[in-house]
C-alpha cells in the first residue's frame, strides 16, 4: 500500500487495454467463416430415411402431440405395397412445421418412435413472409441416397409389415 496506488491502478488499467491491442480478434467473419455447431445443437428439423430409402416417419402425430408450441401438423395416409413410402401401414402424407412457432425444444425428437424427426445443424432460417416460414415435407425430408430409392416405390409384398423398427436404447 502506498499513496501512489490510485495512480498505479489507473496506469495498470491503461496497460491492460493496450496489451489487448496486440491480441488476435476473436471475431468470426460470419457469412464466409462459419463456426462448427455443437454435437447436440438443435437447429432446423430433418426427416430421416432408412438406408434402403424408405421414410422413417409413419405419420403417428406423436411429435405434433408433444410439441409445446403447436408448430407441427401431420396428416397420415395408408401405405400399399404398390406405393410404399414407409414401412408399416401408414405414412405422413402431409408434414408441416411452422418455423415461426417452433421453439427448438427437441420434444418432437424425443417423442418420435422411429427416430424419424431429428433437429439438425442448420440455423440459417430466414423468411420474407409467413407462408415461407412453414416448412413442408418436401423441404424437411432428407434427400435419397441413390436415385432408385425414391418414395413412393413398388416393393415386394409382405416384407415391410412392421412400422416401428427394432431399436437399441439411445446412446446420446
Amino acid at each position: 500500500m502506498s499513496v501512489l496506488d490510485p495512480v498505479v491502478e489507473l496506469m495498470r488499467g491503461l496497460w491492460t487495454t493496450l496489451k489487448m491491442l496486440g491480441e488476435k480478434p476473436v471475431t468470426f467473419q460470419y457469412p464466409e467463416q462459419k463456426r462448427e455447431v455443437r454435437p447436440r445443437f438443435r437447429g432446423r428439423h430433418v426427416l430421416k430415411r432408412y438406408d434402403n430409402g424408405l421414410e422413417k416417419c409413419i405419420g403417428c402425430s406423436l411429435c405434433a402431440a408433444a410439441c409445446p408450441a403447436d408448430a407441427i401438423f401431420v396428416e397420415a395416409s395408408e401405405n400399399t405395397d404398390e406405393k410404399r413410402f414407409s414401412p408399416g401401414e401408414r405414412y405422413a402424407s402431409t408434414y408441416e412445421i411452422n418455423m415461426l412457432r417452433c421453439i427448438y425444444c427437441g420434444f418432437c425428437e424425443d417423442a418420435c418412435p422411429t427416430e424419424a424427426i431429428v433437429l439438425g445443424d442448420n440455423y440459417e432460417l430466414s423468411f420474407y413472409d409467413r407462408r415461407s416460414a412453414i416448412y413442408t415435407k418436401e423441404s424437411l425430408l432428407e434427400p435419397v441416397p441413390t436415385v432408385d430409392m425414391t418414395t413412393p416405390r413398388k416393393v415386394e409384398p409382405n416384407v415391410y409389415k412392421r412400422s416401428v423398427p427394432e431399436m437399441k436404447d439411445p446412446q446420446d
Binding site: 499513496v3 493496450l18 489487448m20
Partner: protein, 391 residues
C-alpha cells in the same frame, strides 16, 4: 491593397481547413470504432470498402435519409438552431491553428493558417465556450427531462473545467511569452512545453476530456442515466450535426494540445537540424524549397497520436460520478492549475533575473511534479478518510 488573389488564397485556405475537419470527422469515427474494437478483441467495421474505409460514407448516407422528428411540444426555432450553434464553433475554432511554415509560391508568400491573431489563445478560449450554448439550448428546447438534465450537466461541467483549461492555456502563454499561436510553436523549437511543464500538459489533457464530453467525463450523455443526454430527441441530420461537432471538437482540441504543448507543426526533437526538419531548405540549383509540407504531416501525426490517447482512455476507464466530477474540477484541478501557473511564472522570473537556465529546464518541471504528487497524496488521503467514515 486587397486584390482578388488574396481573397482566393483565403478562400482556398478556409476551404482546406473546413474540408480537413469534415473528412477528419468522418475518418475519426472509423478510427475510433476500429481502435475500440481492437482493444475489445473485435475487428470493427471492415465491410464497406477496403478495411471498412467507406463506412463513414455509408453512415452519412444513412443519416441523411433518416426521418427527422421534432417533438410536438419542442421549441421549434431553438430546436432547429441548436445543432448549428454547436457545429459552427467547432469548425471556426480551427482558423487560428497554424499547420505549417509559410513558403513562397506563385511569387508570393503563402502562410499555412487561416488567421494570424495576436491573441490566438484568447480566441480559442472564447470560441470553445460558445459551443456550450448549443448543447444547453438543445437540451432545453427538446422538452424532455433527460435532454434537459444532459444539457445542464454539460454546461456545469464545461464551465467548471474551463477554469483549469484556461489556466493551463495561461501556463503555455507564460512559457512562450505570447498569445500568438505561431510564437508559441516557435518557442517550442528547442524544447516542447510538455517537457518543461508536464503537469500543465496533464491538466490540459484532463480538462480537455471534460470539455469535449469524452469518457471518463461523458456525463452529459451517460447512456445508463440519461438515454442519450442533450441529443435524445434529435434524429437524422440534426443528430449528425451534434455528432460532427463532438468529433470535430475532438480533432481541434487535439490540434490545440499539439500546438500548445507538443511543438505544433514542428518536427520531433531528434529530427531537429536534419533534412526532416521543417526549416530545412533544399538547394536544387536556382530552386530553394523548404520542407513546408512536413509541417501539416507532423501536426497530423501528433493529432492522430493524441486522438488515440482519447480513444484509449475511453476504452479503459469507467465514467466517474457526477458529484465527484464536480468536486474534482473545483477542489483538485483548479487549485493545482493555479499552483502550476504560479510555479511556471516564478521559474521564468528566476531564470531571467538570475540568468540561469536551470530554473527553466529543471526547476519548473521538478517543482510542478512535486506539487502534482502532493495533490495525488492529498486526494488519496481524502478518499481514504471518506472510505473510513463510511465504514
Amino acid at each position: 491593397m486587397i486584390t482578388w488573389d488574396i481573397w482566393l488564397e483565403w478562400f482556398i485556405k478556409a476551404l482546406v481547413v473546413t474540408l480537413a475537419l469534415l473528412t477528419g470527422f468522418a475518418y475519426l469515427t472509423w478510427y475510433e470504432r476500429r481502435a475500440l474494437a481492437r482493444i475489445q478483441v473485435r475487428i470493427g467495421p471492415n465491410r464497406a470498402g477496403p478495411q471498412g474505409l467507406l463506412q463513414p460514407i455509408a453512415d452519412a448516407v444513412k443519416l441523411i435519409f433518416k426521418e427527422e422528428l421534432t417533438p410536438g411540444k419542442a421549441d421549434k426555432l431553438v430546436f432547429f438552431w441548436a445543432p448549428v450553434i454547436t457545429l459552427v464553433p467547432s469548425i471556426i475554432i480551427a482558423a487560428v491553428i497554424p499547420w505549417g511554415e509559410s513558403f513562397t509560391a506563385f511569387g508570393r508568400t503563402i502562410t499555412l493558417y487561416v488567421a494570424d491573431l495576436n491573441v490566438g489563445v484568447l480566441y480559442l478560449m472564447s470560441i470553445a465556450s460558445i459551443a456550450v450554448y448549443g448543447i444547453v439550448l438543445a437540451g432545453w428546447s427538446s422538452n424532455n427531462k433527460y435532454a434537459m438534465l444532459g444539457g445542464l450537466r454539460s454546461s456545469a461541467q464545461m464551465i467548471s473545467y474551463e477554469l483549469a483549461l484556461g489556466l493551463s492555456f495561461a501556463t503555455s502563454i507564460i512559457l512562450a511569452n505570447s498569445m500568438r499561436l505561431l510564437d508559441i510553436v516557435e518557442a517550442q523549437k528547442t524544447m516542447w512545453f510538455v517537457v518543461v511543464q508536464p503537469v500543465g500538459a496533464m491538466i490540459f489533457w484532463i480538462a480537455t476530456l471534460a470539455e469535449v464530453n469524452r469518457a471518463p467525463f461523458d456525463m452529459p450523455e451517460a447512456e445508463q442515466e440519461l438515454t442519450a443526454g442533450y441529443h435524445s430527441e434529435y434524429s437524422g441530420m440534426k443528430f449528425a450535426l451534434f455528432f460532427m461537432a463532438e468529433y470535430q471538437k475532438m480533432i481541434v482540441i487535439c490540434a490545440i494540445a499539439a500546438t500548445l504543448y507538443f511543438g505544433g507543426f514542428r518536427e520531433f526533437g531528434i529530427l531537429r537540424n536534419t533534412i526532416f526538419s521543417v526549416d530545412h531548405t533544399w538547394m536544387l540549383g536556382t530552386w530553394h524549397i523548404t520542407n513546408w509540407f512536413l509541417g501539416p504531416l507532423y501536426l497530423l501525426l501528433k493529432v492522430i497520436a493524441l486522438l488515440f490517447g482519447m480513444i484509449w482512455v475511453r476504452a479503459t476507464w469507467p465514467r466517474i460520478r457526477y458529484d465527484r466530477l464536480m468536486s474534482f474540477g473545483w477542489k483538485v484541478m483548479l487549485p493545482l492549475s493555479l499552483a502550476i501557473t504560479f510555479i511556471t511564472a516564478t521559474g521564468i522570473i528566476l531564470q531571467q533575473e538570475l540568468h540561469n537556465d536551470l530554473y527553466y529546464y529543471a526547476g519548473i518541471p521538478v517543482v510542478s511534479i512535486l506539487v502534482g504528487l502532493f495533490t495525488v497524496v492529498m486526494v488519496y488521503r481524502e478518499l481514504r478518510r471518506k472510505a473510513y467514515e463510511r465504514a
